[in-house]
Symmetry: C2
Subunit: 624 residues, 2 copies
């Protein structure tokens, strides 16, 4: 219930003005505590947020999990003091809490953190919040119809990010009239004026050409802002953009519209507060969301995964698609999206069976990851897929997803030189490094179809960012369908009590290692093959046991650059073991070209022959 619903308009307008000043004052106070932060970027948006919060936002701060709550995303995350000032005005946090901003242990971080119950995603990397908002709005238009609106406060500087235009395309394509972006055009970036300054037409023209409804407004005229929001929320079958001309540092002459004040506290806090009319104690109660059915309950029936006969040929990418389609039969919270290569990643098999839960994201990997995060915010289990190499296009979004404590599954096909003729632009050779270095991530790299299917099922409930690497080529099924696998597990292939050398492999190189072990057996050398399909977390215990059993002799072999992948993971896991290791790391060291997969594995020195050579060298070296 709003305390303001019965006041006449004139008084309400005054309330908005006063609330805007209060938000400025509190933003200044919040940043003064740590002596750092972005008060001037908060002050430009204060009137826009005041009107929004008091009249338009429908949000139950006591129940942040209300399924019909609006979503408010500060894509310009550096305006966090404005967000925290709003939380205080709405009674969600106390003044004491506000004044912990940016101090150790406070959830009121320098940029919005998902540790706060009202924050959907961490922001602070420009151009990230808006695409996530598209995902949240898309969920309400498709798999879980809801009456909420997504409001995104965006900065003019971030309009330079390509990711923003991916979001503009997709929001129009999906006709997201439940999405309103408030563009705070304060003209000044961090180090100077933006490319377009106060040329509002540049934003209006661009957004309209992308199919949006766009409305210019003076961002400090609360009555005009009110009218603009009314127009925006009336837009039908298209998203809406408010292009607001604002003044950075608005209300404090010492900094107002001045360059050089980005990310700096005001020179005189007390004087600034006085100039803004002093502290106020306005408390607002945003409108509550409409009643509606409870949060959708998703079904999760037992999954009967596909089972593959030993020895049959099946690519792990196809096994991914088959497992995902089956998973989708069993549980209706699974959604999938693809970067316009679903016939290569085989997510198309899911699309055929569950078209209503499949989303074609075209060649826009950043928007794909952002949409997945948005679906996750709404309680769904997103799987995304593309050529593994092209997730490098979305690495910042993956980084921010982890910081946002999001859970999503990323499946990259066409890994390594085994990709073959297409050449290096299509070969992921850095993806293991890239995904290992994501906070809290899981990195899986199956070698056969049954293993893939099991790992896909496990991935569905795995928290954080789960990456699964698949291979383009058909490979033989080497595990029986009832073999058990686990995140953090491994499988020992071809082990005896008196093995000479451990070969640690994953994915495509498991097959090469098995071949090498057969060749070496002919020489009388016993190799145990350790399949480290869980690259992160790695099965340290199994690794220790194997390496101990083989007297410290170890070969790692991976279809990846030498840095940051399987070998690095193995050696780091052994670093505190106190074991004496004699190891060879086989990896791709030269830039590959085109060729058949087997030719390229050979040229790179990661095939069975190279493993044999490495093992022979280890066996030949003193003291053996």
């Amino acid at each position: 219930m709003s305390i303001t619903t019965e006041v006449p308009t004139l008084v309400r307008v005054d309330l908005w003005r006063e609330l805007g000043q209060q938000l400025r004052v509190d933003a200044i106070r919040a940043t003064a505590v740590s002596g750092s932060g972005h008060p001037t970027s908060a002050m430009s948006g204060a009137d826009l947020i005041a009107v929004l919060a008091e009249k338009y936002l429908r949000y139950d701060f006591d129940h942040p999990d209300h399924p019909n709550n609006d979503h408010l995303i500060f894509s310009k995350g550096h305006a966090s003091p404005l967000l925290y000032a709003l939380y205080k005005a709405a009674g969600a946090i106390s003044d004491e809490e506000l004044l912990t901003t940016r101090t150790l242990g406070s959830p009121l971080e320098g940029h919005p953190s998902a540790a706060l119950p009202w924050v959907d995603v961490a922001t602070g990397s420009l151009g990230f919040g808006l695409p996530v908002g598209v995902g949240i709005a898309l969920a309400a238009k498709t798999v879980d119809p809801r009456p909420y609106r997504v409001w995104v406060l965006a900065g003019d500087s971030e309009m330079a990010e390509g990711s923003v235009w991916e979001a503009f395309e997709h929001a129009a394509h999906w006709q997201l009239d439940n999405l309103t972006v408030i563009l705070d055009v304060n003209r000044l970036g961090q180090s100077g004026e933006t490319m377009h300054g106060w040329d509002l037409d540049s934003y209006l023209d661009r957004s309209r050409s992308f199919g949006w409804a766009a409305f210019p407004v003076d961002g400090h005229d609360v009555e005009a802002i009110d009218r603009a929001y009314t127009l925006a929320t009336a837009a039908s079958e298209r998203p809406s953009l408010i292009v607001a001309r604002t003044v950075k540092g608005k209300g404090v002459a010492a900094v107002e519209n001045q360059p050089g004040w980005h990310g700096k506290v005001l020179p005189d806090t007390e004087a600034a507060i006085a100039e803004l009319g002093g502290m106020r104690e306005i408390r607002i109660a945003p409108s509550l969301p409409p009643d509606a059915p409870p949060r959708r309950h998703y079904e999760a029936a037992p999954v009967t995964l596909p089972a593959y006969e030993l020895g049959t040929l099946k690519s792990t990418r196809r096994a991914y698609g088959e497992a995902l389609a089956t998973l989708g039969d069993a549980r209706d919270d699974v959604v999938a999206m693809d970067g316009e290569v679903s016939n290569s990643t085989f997510s198309g098999l899911f699309a055929e069976r569950h078209p209503e839960r499949f989303f074609e994201m075209f060649v826009a990997e950043q928007q794909m990851i952002a949409a997945a995060i948005g679906f996750g915010v709404r309680g769904l289990k997103p799987f995304t897929s593309a050529f593994a190499a092209f997730f490098s296009r979305a690495y910042d979004f993956i980084r921010m997803a982890a910081i946002s404590r999001a859970s999503l599954r990323i499946v990259g096909s066409h890994a390594g030189v085994a990709t073959g003729e297409d050449g290096p632009s299509q070969m992921a050779l850095e993806d293991l490094a890239m995904f290992r270095a994501v906070h809290g991530s899981t990195v899986l790299y199956p070698s056969d179809a049954n293993q893939t299917a099991k790992l896909v099922e496990l991935a569905a409930n795995n928290p954080g960012i789960t990456y699964l690497r698949t291979t383009r080529a058909d490979t033989p099924v080497i595990y029986a369908a009832d073999t058990s696998f686990s995140i953090g597990g491994s499988r020992l292939l071809r082990a005896t009590a008196d093995d000479d050398v451990t070969v640690a492999a994953a994915g495509i190189t498991v097959h090469e290692a098995v071949k090498a072990s057969e060749l070496l057996a002919d020489e009388g050398i016993r190799v145990r093959v350790l399949d480290l399909y869980s690259v992160k977390p790695i099965d340290r215990q199994a690794l220790l046991e194997s390496v101990t059993a083989t007297g410290g002799r170890l070969v790692t072999v991976e279809d990846h650059w030498p840095e940051g992948g399987l070998g690095d993971a193995v050696f780091a896991a052994l670093a505190d073991s106190g074991l004496t290791i004699h190891a060879v790391k086989l990896a791709v060291r030269e830039l590959p070209g085109s060729g058949r997969p087997a030719e390229l594995l050979h040229t790179a020195g990661i095939d069975a022959e190279a493993i044999v050579t490495a093992v022979d060298a280890l066996m030949g070296a003193a003291p053996w």
Copy 2:
């Protein structure tokens, strides 16, 4: 000299038509060899390229280094068979060479490779070639005025990539009327229709709203194509876009405008060639570029780097800016660009001194890297800078730069939790992993101002991708100004003949390690501090010597996630040493929040106190 300049128009039109068919036939033949590739994507663009090559392109194939040659970039790199067919028609390659396409060892890879003398950058990752084209065009409009034109063949699928819109913004902003993009709208992506199909207006409206001159055309009507090129090349002070309606697989009924034929060879090569009228032997000689002064000779005078007094406080980010400005005094081939944070990275110091060689790239990291690649193509030495975390936005471009054999320097500030109050979105904690896993890269992480200055100078001539990580906070100068540093080197601090433990550190943790060694000295424990400022290549020899000297006892400490950074690099370097290692890896394991830098280093367990604890544990463990 063109063989066609004297033929009347009617005949020339017939020539274009015939040449278009020849390019189709040869594209089909080139892909038939390996049984893989993208003939249908080549066939849609064949008429566009035929007219371009015969009449508009000014290129001396015998002298690919001619400074006034036009640049032709296939941003839709999968249309490479069309490019190779053009090379054959121009006499640059033989038919025998054409028929090596996609086979092992051939420079005619599945996607264009920079191993070919006429290819500026590798393409194949959609949305990459166009932004590089912007960089090449920008060079000709600024530091090295030249009459060349940059032609980019783009696909409609890649218009979904945000990077394309960064390029559209920048090309208009810099008024690049020497850039023409040919958009091959064949309607069909890999797995289905594109978002906009044949709605040419969607592309015309968007590009015009971004400030481009845009012209629709039937992409198979050679006379209309001719007129469109004439209009495009007449556009003044703005880039131009040809929006060509084309048919995928044009000319062969079995595949023409059919879904399901992306990236597949034709079902019947012989029949297809017959349907196209058989093989032809047309040979064209593109117009030569205008005569002009020889390739610009850049000066490289001796550099007098800034020198800092021992003990003074100076952040490495500021030292970067000061060194770069000085480097710019000495050599005029150094150009710098920044992602709108030049007052934080201190590239602004270069901008003040050399404004004509500084480029504000706004918050568009992908376009920044692409522009740097473009400047590199033109023989310049680009330095790029931004917050280190935000280079994750451009990781695919960095990957493609390496595949393109480009040389550029990337400087990331605000590394690690030492960034402080701004919180995790602003902290690079994966950048060492990310840059280590780039082919042929160099990764540098200086700890003081004198070291930074030396490494900046070395970076200027270092081939490949050179990454330099700087720190936000002021830190004491610990090396005398005449200390020598090298790529692949290290420095041993505080070593004695009978040290107990090696602490391997870099950057901010060097200071913590020095503090820890002082604290431990009070306990009677002798620690040697190894400054591994060259994270890649790492100084394996020095590492081996130190670790051997300290009986295998080793602590690594880094302001980075545990994966892929300094610790992994160290343990991988020791893997084949045969040494018995007892190591502790200190790294950032929990998601940080806001706080003062010292607080966050402490909370993360990577400060002097944590190092002391780790050393004590190693000394207390059996058998010591």
